[in-house]
C-alpha cells in the first residue's frame, strides 16, 4: 500500500473510468481490436491500482467477490456458453445469435452466446490478475525476512 494523497484521489477518479473502458473494450472486441482479454486486463488494473492506494483488504472489500469466485464465475460463463449451445441442440461452443431491434437504430443489436463467452474470459482475467497480485502483495507473513 502506498500512502499518497494524490494517488488516492487519482484512484477514485480513475477506477470508474477504467472499469467503463474495460466494458467498452469487451463489447467492441467482436468487431474491432479488443475483446475479453484486454478488457479484463483493464478492469484488473483498476483494482490493482485501488489496492495500491488503499491496501489489499480495501480492494477486496470493494471487489465484493473473492478472486477465486470470480475465476469460478468466469469459467462458468464461458463453459456455460458452450453448454447453452449444446442445450439448444447445436454443437458445443456454436455461436447463437439473437437480434434485438432497437428503436432509433437501423441495425438490430446482435446479441450472441459468444458475448457470454467473452464476458467469462474477462472475469477470469480479472480474477487471475487479482488473485496473483493479492497473493503476492499480501503473502503469508514471515515467508522471508528481508
Amino acid at each position: 500500500m502506498i500512502r499518497s494523497l494524490i494517488l488516492q484521489i487519482a484512484t477514485r477518479l480513475l477506477v470508474p473510468i477504467l472499469l467503463l473502458f474495460s466494458i467498452f473494450m469487451l463489447l467492441r472486441g467482436h468487431n474491432l481490436p479488443g475483446g475479453g482479454f484486454v478488457g479484463g486486463l483493464v478492469a484488473a488494473s483498476a483494482f490493482v491500482l485501488y489496492s495500491l492506494a488503499v491496501g489489499v483488504d480495501g480492494a477486496r472489500r470493494v471487489l465484493r467477490l473473492a478472486p477465486r469466485t470470480l475465476l469460478g464465475t468466469g469459467l462458468a460463463c464461458s463453459v456455460g456458453a458452450g453448454i447453452l449451445s449444446l442445450a439448444t441442440g447445436a454443437s458445443f461452443l456454436q455461436s447463437l445469435w439473437v437480434k434485438v431491434p432497437l428503436p432509433g437504430l437501423s441495425d438490430p443489436l446482435k446479441l450472441g452466446s459468444t458475448l457470454i463467452f467473452d464476458i467469462g474470459v474477462m472475469f477470469v482475467v480479472v480474477g487471475t490478475v487479482l488473485l496473483m497480485v493479492f497473493s503476492v502483495e499480501d503473502r503469508v507473513p514471515g515467508l522471508i525476512d528481508d
Binding site: 475465476l71 469460478g72 469459467l75 462458468a76 463453459v79 454443437s91 458445443f92 455461436s95
Partner: protein, 495 residues
C-alpha cells in the same frame, strides 16, 4: 454425437468449476469430486461403446467443418485411453478421500485434479495440433500446482526442475507446430496429413518429426529428456503422484504415436533408428535407476520411464502388431502405475518411511495390500497372468517379426531387471519383518479400506484383463489398425 464427445472434457471442467465455487464446503468438494469422476467414467465408457459400435466419432466444435474449426475425434485409441483414465480417476478420487489432507483440499486439490483430467482428456481426443498444445498447457499447469501443493522444500525444488524442463517441452512443441503450420497452412491433424505431400522432402519431415519427438519425449520421459521425472514424481502425496505416473507420461507418448503415425506415416530410416535407440536407452536407464533406489516413489518413477521405453519401441517398429503392442502396453500401464503409486502411498503411511529398506512387515500385517501389490508389480515385470505380459509378448513378437533382434534382446534383459527390482521391493518392504515399532499408521479399519478399496479394485481389474485379455487386446488392435491405416480417420474428420 454433438454432445457425447464433448463430455470427457466438459464433465471434468464443470466438476472443477463447481469445486472451485463450492470450495467452502469440504463435503461438497469431495462428493462432487467422486461424482464427477464417476460421471466421467460413464461418459467415457459411452464414447468407447459408441466408437466400438459405430466407428470413429467426430465432433466439430462450434459446428465449423474441419479443418476450419477445432475437431474432436475419438477412435479406439483415444476412446480406450479416456475410459481407462477415467477409471483411474475414480480410483484416485476415492483414495483421496483419505489420502488427502484438509489443507490441500482447501487449496484446490479437487479443482486442480479435475481440470488436470480435463487437460488429459482434451489431449487424448483433440484432432487439432494447436488445440493439443492448449490441452498440454492445461494439464501442465494443473500438474505444476498439484506438485507444489504443500510447499514442502522437496516439492518446490522438484517443481522447479519439473516446471523448467516442461516449459522447454511446451516451447519445443509449439515451435514444431509453428513450423509445420508454415509448411502446410493447417492445424487439423487430418488436414495436415493430406497436405504433408507438399513438403516433398523426407528429410524435412524427419526434422520436424524429431522436433515433435523432443517435445513429446520430454513429456513422456524418454531418454535423454526424462530428468525432470525422477526429480519430481516422488515429492507430491500419493494421489497426485498416482495420477501423474498413470497419465501424464501417457499423454506424451500418446501424442507421439498419434503424430508419428498420422503425420509421418512413412518414416525415414533415420527416424526409425532414432526411435529405437531412444526406446532402448529409455528402458535401460529407467530400470537401472530403479535398481538401487531407496525411496519407493522415486523407484517407481524410474520404472515409469522404463515402461515408456517399451511403448516407444512398439512405435519404432512401425507395424500394426508393434503398435497394437504399444497401445495395449499403454492401456494396461495406466492402472498399473497409478495403482503402484497408490500402494506406495499406503506403504508410506503404514511404515512411516519412504525407504524401501526400512519398511517391512507388510506381508504379515497387510495381506490384502500385499496381494494387491503383486498384481501390478508383476504385471510391470511382464509376468503372466497379468496384463503386462500380453503387452510385452506382443511387443517382443513385433520386434522379432521385424528382425530387430538387438532391441528385443535389450527389452528382454530389461524385463529381467524389472523383475529383480520388483522382487527387491517385495522382499524388503513386504516380506522382511517389521521394525520394532511395527506399523505406525493410525488409520482406522474404515479409513484403511478407503485407501485400499481403489487399489484392490484396480488389482482385480488388472487380473481380469490378464486372464481374459481379449476385449482390451481387441481394442488395442483396432486402435493399431486405425493408426496404420489412416484413411478412415481422415475420412471421418474431413468428411
Amino acid at each position: 454425437m454433438k454432445v457425447l464427445l464433448v463430455l470427457p472434457v466438459l464433465i471434468p471442467a464443470v466438476t472443477g468449476i463447481l469445486t472451485l465455487l463450492l470450495r467452502r464446503s469440504r463435503f461438497a468438494q469431495r462428493a462432487l469430486s467422486v461424482l464427477g469422476a464417476v460421471a466421467l467414467l460413464g461418459a467415457s465408457s459411452a464414447v468407447l461403446w459408441t466408437v466400438q459400435t459405430n466407428g470413429i466419432q467426430v465432433a466439430q466444435m462450434g459446428n465449423w467443418a474441419a479443418p476450419f474449426g477445432i475437431t474432436l475425434v475419438a477412435d479406439s485409441f483415444s476412446a480406450g485411453l479416456i475410459t481407462i483414465s477415467a477409471f483411474v480417476a475414480v480410483a484416485v478420487a476415492v483414495y483421496a478421500l483419505r489420502g488427502m489432507d484438509v489443507e490441500r483440499e482447501f487449496f484446490g486439490f479437487h479443482t486442480l485434479f479435475h481440470l488436470l483430467m480435463m487437460g488429459i482428456n482434451g489431449a487424448f481426443i483433440t484432432g487439432d495440433l494447436f488445440n493439443m498444445y492448449v490441452w498440454f498447457e492445461v494439464l501442465l499447469i494443473a500438474s505444476f500446482v498439484l506438485l507444489v501443493l504443500g510447499n514442502e522444500e522437496k516439492q518446490l525444488e522438484g517443481a522447479v526442475k519439473y516446471v523448467g524442463i516442461n516449459l522447454v517441452a511446451s516451447v519445443s512443441f509449439l515451435t514444431a507446430i509453428g513450423l509445420l503450420y508454415g509448411f502446410t497452412g493447417s492445424l487439423n491433424f487430418a488436414d495436415i496429413a493430406t497436405s504433408m505431400g507438399n513438403i516433398q522432402e523426407a528429410g524435412l519431415e524427419a526434422t520436424i518429426a524429431a522436433l515433435f519427438l523432443v517435445g513429446f519425449g520430454i513429456k513422456a520421459g524418454l531418454f535423454p529428456l526424462y530428468f525432470w521425472l525422477p526429480a519430481s514424481y516422488h515429492t507430491p502425496p500419493a494421489p497426485v503422484a498416482a495420477i501423474f505416473a498413470g497419465l501424464l507420461t501417457k499423454v506424451g507418448v500418446y501424442s507421439l504415436i498419434r503424430i508419428f503415425t498420422l503425420l509421418f506415416p512413412d518414416p525415414t530410416g533415420y527416424t526409425k533408428t532414432l526411435l529405437l535407440v531412444v526406446a532402448g536407452a529409455t528402458m535401460v536407464i529407467g530400470v537401472l535407476g530403479a535398481l538401487t533406489e531407496r525411496n519407493v516413489n522415486r523407484l517407481l518413477a524410474f520404472l515409469v520411464i522404463s515402461a515408456m521405453g517399451y511403448v516407444v519401441m512398439g512405435l519404432g517398429f512401425f507395424t500394426t502388431l508393434g503398435l497394437a503392442g504399444a497401445v495395449f502396453y499403454i492401456f494396461q500401464d495406466i492402472p498399473v502405475k497409478a495403482s503402484l503409486f497408490l500402494i506406495g502411498g499406503v506403504m508410506e503411511r503404514e511404515t512411516g518411511t519412504t525407504e524401501v529398506g526400512k519398511m517391512g512387515g507388510l506381508y504379515m500385517h497387510r495381506p490384502l495390500l500385499a496381494l494387491s501389490f503383486i498384481v501390478p508389480a508383476f504385471s510391470l515385470a511382464g509376468f503372466p497372468p497379468f496384463p503386462g505380459f500380453w503387452g510385452k509378448l506382443t511387443l517382443v513378437q513385433a520386434g522379432l517379426a521385424t528382425e530387430n533382434y538387438l532391441i528385443v534382446a535389450i527389452a528382454l534383459l530389461v524385463g529381467v531387471l524389472t523383475l529383480l527390482v520388483v522382487a527387491q521391493v517385495w522382499a524388503r518392504a513386504f516380506w522382511s519383518p517389521a521394525r520394532e515399532e511395527g506399523l505406525v499408521s493410525t488409520d482406522s479399519p474404515l479409513q484403511r479400506s478407503v485407501l485400499q478399496a481403489p487399489i484392490v479394485v484396480i488389482g482385480v481389474a488388472l487380473l481380469a484383463v490378464g486372464l481374459y485379455a481379449q476385449p482390451l487386446f481387441d481394442l488395442a488392435q483396432q486402435a493399431a489398425d486405425n493408426l496404420t491405416n489412416t484413411a478412415p480417420y481422415i475420412q471421418a474428420v474431413l468428411g
